[in-house]
Structure formats: C-alpha cells, structure tokens
C-alpha cells in the first residue's frame, strides 16, 4: 500500500496553457488593483472592468458597503439561531416534518431595515454623493440609499436565507430580492448569477439622490414618499461602480455563513446528498438464511446498544432515510422497554422468555422470539460507583445538539447518583486535561459547576484523553463497585499515530482490571459509528446515540442502573435447531455480533455485557420442515447418520422440541461462565400472531421496520402500513411515548420512500 501511494508522487501535471495563464494573471492583477483602490484613495478604474456579471459586481459592492455590515451581521447571527430553533422545534415535535428537504426561511427584514436606518443615519453627515468621482464608499452608500428609497415605495428588500445542511459540503443560499411593485420610470434590471454560494442579487435601479434623499433614506420607509425625493437626480451610480475584488470578501462572508450553518440545519438534508455525510458506518452483510441440516447451531453475543435507533430517528426526523449500513435491527428492537418476565432472585442473572408465532411478513415461516430480561438491582443494593466523564470538547462539539446537550445529560446523571459515588471529568481537544479530580457526589455543586464550565475549542486528541480518564478511574477505583468511563463525543476520535487496534487493546486490558467504558455519541456529520461500537464492545459498555434530551433522560436516568451496574458479562446465546422440525432459520440483526459455534463454550471469548434490568431481544425467522418457503434444497448425500452426527447434542432430544436455547454468562467479577438452558416446545407455538403478548408483537413491528430500512428482501412485500398497524395494535400504555414516536417514524419513512 505504501508503495502504491508513492506512485502519487510521480504524477506529472501538464504545462498550463499560456492562454489560461495569461487570463488568470490579468484577472488577478485586475483584482489586485481593485483591492488597492479599495484600500486607498479612489481611482478611476471604470475602463477596465473584470469580465463578470454585472450582478456579481453589484453584489460585491453591496457586500463591501459598510451599510450592509449590520445586516450581514444580523444574518450571521440569525442563521445559526434559526437552525437551532428549528432543530429544537423538530425535536420537541412542535413542527411536523414533511416529506422531502425542508427549507427554513427567516425573514430578517425588520432587523435589516432597522440596521440600515441606523447606519444610514450615521452616514448622514457625509457629503452628498452624486457624481461619478464619488469615492467607492459613497457609491455604496448611494446604492444602499437607492435601495432604501425603493423600500420606501413599497419595494421590499428581503433577505431570505435558506440554510441547507449537507454536512461538509453545506451550501448556503442567499437571496437578496428587490421586488418592484409600483410603476417606476427607471428600468429595473434583474440579473442573476449562480456563484458558488448561489447569490441572487436583483439590481437596484440606477438612481441617485441628493442630500435630502439621504435624509429620506434614514427615515422610516413609509415616510420616504412623503418627502418626494426619489424620482429626480439621476447619477448613474451603478455604471460608475467599478468592478472590485470584493467578490472575495463576499465569498469569505458566505463561507462564514456556511461554517456557521453547515451543522446547524440538520433539518434540511436532501436525501440525495446523504452519501456525502461524513458519518461512517461499517457495512456488514445481512445474516443469510441458513439450513439447519448444515448449520444447526446459531451463536451470537448479546447487544444492548441502542445507538442505531437514535441515529435512524435523527436521520428520518431530518427528512432522509438512514443509510442501510447504519441500521442495526437488533439495536432498534432493543431500544424499546419491553415487559419481559424478570428473574426473581439475583442469583439468576436473567430469564429467557420464548414465544413462537407465525411471521407477519411471510405466511410460511414462523418467528421464534427470545426476550431476555436481566435481574433488576434495587436502589439499596446499588454498588458504589466511580464514574469518569471523558468529554470531547473539540471545536466540532460547539453545536446545540452536542456539548450543551451533553452537559444537560451529565447533569441528569449526576443527580441520579448517591452521595458516596465519585465523579471525575476529563476533557480532550487539542490537549487533554483533567477538569475535575475524583469528587464525591455529596459535593454535587462542584461537579455541576465543572460541567457547566466546559467550553468547546481545539481539535481532537482522543487517545491522550482516554489515558487520562483511565488514570483517574484507577485513582478513585472502588473495589466491588462500578468503575466506568463515559466517553462522550461526536465521533471523530483522533488516536494519533497509533491504530484503532492499539486503542482497542488498551480498552480491553483496562476492562480486565475492572474499568469499563461506555460511549455516548452526539451529533452528526462526523460520527464514526464503527469506532464507537468497537470501543464500547471492547470496554464492556453500551454505545448510545444521544440526539435529544429525552434520549439522554432515557439512557442516563431511566436506564442509568442498567448502563452503570452490570449484572453479567460475556453473555452469549446459542440456539440449536431441531432438524426434524425446522428446515431453515435466519437471525434477524446481530450481524456485528456473530460468534463462532465453538466460541460459545470458550470463556476466553469476549461477548456483550448486560446491565441491571436490561432487556435483550433476539428474533429468528424459522422455516418449518416441509414449508413452501424453504429456500435450500435437501442435501442429496446427507444421510440420516451424518445429520445426527452433526447434531450430537440433540441425538436424544425429545422430538417435540423446535429448538434449544442456551445462554452462557459470567457474573461481573467472575471468570467462569454459567449456563442457562431453555427448550422450545413445538406445541407452545401460537396459532396467530395476535395470540402473542403485545410487547412481542411490538418488537416484531420494530424488527420489520429495521429490516425495511435495510432493504432486506424478506420484508419487501410487507408494507409500511402493515408495520404501522402491527405497532399500533400492540402499542400498549407506552408511558414514555417511545412507541408513539416509533409509529411516527414509520409514517415518515413511508412518505420518504414515496410509498
């Protein structure tokens, strides 16, 4: 690879053509002169106009005018504010999102007029500029005043700013439109130019003013007419406006806008541009349908992450479907609280609830639904906690849905802790640093103050931050307690020259010493999903994606005990299907969690962790023997004996079993695993899906939705409406409104797909 990249150094660019070179030089010299003239005294340059649109020149002139500075500033302020507001409103469901790219429009007329009036007022003492020898700024002034006068005659100047975010390539459209509604003796030329920021400038009439007109300009718009000053005194200000290099300034200005808004307007992402998102996801093939004859055993590690659902929600809410690779069906299913039966005592870490029912999207297959519920640690049993918040304060976190949200989230969490628990804070950006040494929660105010004081800035140097966090965690280590680092970031994690693998190894090594790592993802544009997953998986932690305060509440408060207090680690599930009954099976989701069959009994192989009260749900689509849905042909040479040999465990198994579910886990402080087994009886299968408990049905609806977002073949004939119906019927009490939100997402996805 190194050698191949070195080939790049052997590129031999062609000689530039003399023509292009001469043109560029000439234009640059021209621009240079203009720049100089601009800075120094006015000089006549009107004979050597640059080759460009008159509208561009006008735009430059306007952008140069000190008069507009106020308005431009107002725009700069308003765009992010509007973006923030919109995000908030969408998050709060104050405004519904409609199909397709949404467009925000903020009329800043009022501010603009006000600013202008002020500025014009300040400029009043200046000499009346009416002739061609007027200095540049005077010309600008004239144009502005001319504009103002037009406004006075019911011509409205609007500055509409449409902020569109398509992550790095965010573009901003600015429109300055002068509408002429009343008859005017002077011709009005309207020209448009598509510059790189799509600036549209309507030309102002070639009209000029005398000193009293200036006075009129400063008056409230309506009074201008009364003064009756505008119609006279032609001065051809426009024609004399020299082409200046202010285009560059205009661009710079626009760029600032881009910078300010690129990450704000997450609401308006056109679906077409989603491939340009900087978020990274690892693609995994969807679990295939397996034949029980050849692969009777399915093994995977549990996954209690929920990041995928929150990410998908964020995408759909902003008007685009999530990338198929970003959807992990099991995380979507596991996002929702289900009422699976819990084990009664702590010595049983969890209980598996199994339901077999017909598949809603395929009449010829069955679903085998495994709902596992972890033992719920009661408040008084809560172990002492030593938490380290490792917080990304790099410049990219400076957005309403990142650092401020993160602060609120951690505040919620701190309020949930016991006085004896300790909290430390490490930040990382250009440099990493300890913000708060381990502090008891009894000094809560100190902790909250430290959280409040966090400010964004700098680039990301995550590796050092992680090391510092581990040091603090070791410093305040509580034996037999919970030692956990919460890494909060928008994703791009700079590990320096060392590789992801080394980072992984470190986290793994620390995990063995009892310090676990959870990852909270924020924002979009930079989100490195795979790395976050890897970190959390290797650190025995949860990867959650926080897009709203409600989500922070859910992850850190309602489920705080689960995120913090592990009840079992290395939880693996193995399901063995009975070839007598089942021909084929397919595990829905868990693509990133597959384990080798032999790893199930190998206690050295790491797997997922389960927290207090956690629920994990896995769904298999199974094809009974003899069903028309069987995809694989029988093996011609597979004899009965061979089949038996490959399924040693079931040799003596009762033939009324469909499958045998085994769960292996370790207690948090143990290295030897415990096994739980549950047989799945054929006669327990539900005849119709309606017989299944509501929570089971709802999780199936979520599974269908996830698969549809992933464009899986199996559900292609199952309509969005079917999902909505299934979900609505099984919604239950839905006390936190998660399920209602889910149904809304299905509706939105349906319309985004145009189905």
């Amino acid at each position: 690879m190194e050698n191949e990249l070195d080939k790049l150094s052997r590129m031999t660019p062609p000689k530039p053509s003399n023509e292009a070179r001469a043109r560029a030089m000439a234009l640059a010299m021209q621009a240079f002169d203009d720049e100089k003239n601009n800075a120094a005294a006015p000089q006549g340059t009107e004979n050597t106009h640059r080759q460009s649109f008159i509208a561009t020149r006008l735009w430059r002139t306007i952008m140069n005018g000190r008069l507009l500075a106020g308005s431009a500033l107002a725009t700069l302020l308003i765009v992010p504010a509007a973006g923030y507001l919109t995000v908030q409103m969408v998050n709060n469901k104050t405004i519904p999102l409609i199909d397709g790219p949404a467009v925000k429009k903020d009329k800043v007329e009022e501010q603009k007029t006000a600013d202008r009036g002020d500025d014009a007022g300040k400029q009043l003492p200046l000499k009346p500029a009416t002739d061609q020898s007027a200095s540049q700024s005077d010309v600008d002034l004239q144009l502005q005043i001319a504009n103002e006068m037009k406004a006075g005659q019911q011509k409205r100047i609007q500055l509409d700013v449409e902020a569109k975010n398509n992550s790095e390539w965010g573009t901003v459209k600015q429109k300055t439109v002068t509408k002429t509604e009343t008859a005017k003796p002077e011709p009005v030329i309207a020209d448009e130019e598509k510059a790189d920021t799509d600036q549209k400038v309507a030309e102002v009439p070639k009209e000029a003013l005398d000193s009293s007109a200036l006075a009129g300009g400063a008056k409230p718009a309506g009074e201008a007419d009364d003064l009756g000053l505008t119609e006279n005194a032609p001065a051809d200000a426009l024609a004399s406006a020299p082409a200046t290099s202010n285009a560059v300034e205009g661009r710079v200005m626009s760029k600032k806008l881009i910078g300010a808004t690129a990450n704000e307007g997450t609401v308006a992402q056109p679906p077409l541009l989603q491939q340009e998102s900087g978020d990274r996801f690892t693609s995994k093939d969807i679990n295939p349908v397996k034949s029980v004859a050849t692969d009777p055993v399915s093994t995977f590690s549990i996954d209690v992450d929920t990041a995928s659902y929150a990410y998908a929600r964020q995408a759909i809410m902003s008007g685009r479907l999530p990338e198929a690779d970003s959807v992990r069906v099991e995380e979507m299913i596991n996002y929702f609280p289900y009422d699976w039966k819990p084990p009664e005592k702590a010595d049983q870490a969890f209980k598996a609830n199994i339901t077999v029912m017909p598949t809603p999207w395929n009449a010829n297959t069955l679903l085998m639904h495994v709902g596992i519920k972890g033992y719920e640690v009661q408040q008084q049993e809560q172990k002492p906690a030593n938490l380290v918040f490792l917080i990304d304060v790099s410049g990219s976190m400076d957005e309403p849905n990142k650092l401020p949200l993160l602060k609120s989230a951690f505040r919620l969490l701190v309020n949930k802790l016991k006085p004896t628990d300790t909290v430390s804070i490490v930040v990382y950006a250009g440099n990493s640093g300890v913000v708060l040494e381990p502090t008891k929660v009894s000094e809560k105010q100190k902790i909250l103050d430290a959280i409040d004081a966090l400010t964004p800035g700098g680039s990301t140097a995550g590796a050092e931050g992680i090391e510092a966090a581990y040091k603090l965690a070791e410093k305040a280590f509580v034996k037999d307690g919970v030692n956990r680092i919460f890494l909060a970031t928008d994703g791009d994690f700079n590990v320096g020259p060392s590789s992801d693998d080394e980072l992984k190894k470190m986290i793994e090594a620390k995990r063995k010493t009892g310090i676990f790592l959870s990852v909270l993802g924020f924002g979009t544009g930079n989100y490195n999903d795979a790395l976050m997953q890897t970190l959390a998986q290797n650190g025995n932690g949860v990867a959650a994606y926080i897009d709203t305060l409600a989500e922070a509440q859910k992850t850190l408060v309602q489920e705080a005990s689960a995120s913090i207090f592990p009840i079992a680690k290395d939880v693996k599930i193995q399901v063995e299907f009975n070839p007598e009954k089942i021909a084929e099976y397919r595990l829905i989701g868990y693509e990133t969690r597959a384990l080798k069959r032999e790893d199930f009994n190998n206690d050295k192989v790491d797997a997922g962790e389960i927290g207090s009260g956690h629920r994990v749900t896995a769904i298999y689509e199974i094809t009974p023997k003899g069903s028309p849905a069987v995809l694989n042909d029988d093996l011609r040479y597979a004899t009965k004996a061979q089949q038996d040999a490959s399924t040693v465990d079931t040799k003596n198994a009762p033939s009324d079993e469909l499958a045998f579910v085994k769960i292996r886990y370790k207690k948090p402080n143990e290295d030897k695993s415990t096994l739980i087994t549950v047989p799945v009886k054929a006669d327990e299968a539900k005849k119709t899906i309606d017989e299944a408990p509501a929570d089971v049905r709802f999780s199936v609806a979520v599974a269908a939705f996830g698969q549809k977002l992933k464009n899986e073949d199996q559900v292609s004939d199952y309509s969005w409406d079917n999902i909505i119906k299934l979900g609505t019927d099984s919604k239950g009490t839905d006390s936190y409104g998660y399920r209602a939100e889910f149904l809304k997402l299905v509706e939105l996805s349906k319309s985004l797909k145009g189905e």
Binding site: L5, M29, D33, A39, V248
Partner: protein, 180 residues
C-alpha cells in the same frame, strides 16, 4: 518542493502584501505553475485546473495583504488551492462525473505506462472523504511531512496521521475490491 526563488521571495511577498503591483505580478509569475500543478493533481483535468488556478490567483489579490509571513508561503498557497478545489467541486458537482471526465481529458490521453498504473490509486484516493484525500495527496503526492500537511489542513499533525491511517484502511477495502 524546494523554494526555487530563494531569499528574494520573502521580500517579494512583503512588497506585494503592501500593495506593490510589480511585486505581486512577479509573485504570480513564479507561483502560477505551482498552483496550476496542484490543482491538476487534485482534479486531473486541465480545464478544472485552469479554472481553479484562476480562482486562486484572483483570491490571492486580496488575500495577499493578509499573509503575515507566519509559516511558509507555499503551505499557505496549498490551503488556498485546496479551498478552491473544494469550491470548484461544490460548484460543478464534479464528484459524480470526475472519472469519465478524466478519461475524456486530452491531457490524460497517451499517458505513459507509469501514469496509467498510477491512475488506479489516484481514482481510489478520490473516493476517500475530502479530509482523507487531502491528507493523502499532501503527504504522498506533494511530499509534505505530517507537520506541514497539518499546517495546510489547519489541524494537528496527529489528526493528519489519523486521516492517513483511516485512508489506508479504506484504500485497502476500495482497492482490494477492485483488484480482486
């Protein structure tokens, strides 16, 4: 990339930044080929390189007064060129038709075997994220060290290393698929 202008250059830049027309002209004269070459390497299209170089030259006219001589002029030029490349890409949505354009571009016809061999890796590099692409191009095509590339990209050297590391991983995937 040696500074072929020697110690004359700082003086030229200083004079140009103070509005000396002649000095600015000479500065352009000296650097146009460099600007054009960088633009070409990023786009492999003569037409695009012409446009971008022109754009950079015009921007330079006003930007030069803001160059304070912190850091090297070439590094600073890279930043301008890369920005212009990005703007150009945005403007023309060239991303989509880049590959076809390349094959139509006369300057790419009749390239030597070495060039031909290199095209594959160049095309692969274009598929990286903009930051990764810029980091790879600056380090491997332009021969900058990580510190210099960091200066151009406005980030830390560590971040450059990280981009390169990520880029290598992705290139392995991209090329692995294409080659195999």
């Amino acid at each position: 990339m040696g500074e072929r202008t020697g110690e004359l250059e700082p003086e030229l830049i200083r004079r140009a930044s103070q509005g000396d027309r002649l000095a600015f002209g000479q500065l352009l004269e000296q650097h146009y080929d460099f600007i054009h070459a960088v633009a070409w390497k990023w786009t492999r299209s003569s037409a695009d390189a012409d446009d971008i170089a022109q754009d950079v030259c015009v921007r330079l006219a006003s930007a030069i007064s803001g160059f304070r001589g912190e850091g090297r002029f070439r590094t600073w030029l890279y930043t301008l060129v890369l920005n212009a490349v990005r703007d150009d890409a945005r403007r023309s949505m060239r991303e989509k038709r880049k590959t076809e354009e390349w094959s139509l571009d006369p300057s790419s016809q009749g390239v030597e075997a070495e060039e031909d061999d290199m095209q594959e890796i160049w095309t692969a590099v274009q598929q990286l994220s903009p930051k990764q692409r810029d980091a790879v191009m600056l380090v491997y095509s332009e021969g900058l060290d990580h510190g210099e590339a960091a200066e151009v990209l406005g980030c830390s050297a560590n971040t450059v290393s990280w981009h390169l590391h990520e880029a290598r991983k992705r290139l392995k995937i991209i090329l692995g698929r294409e080659v195999a």
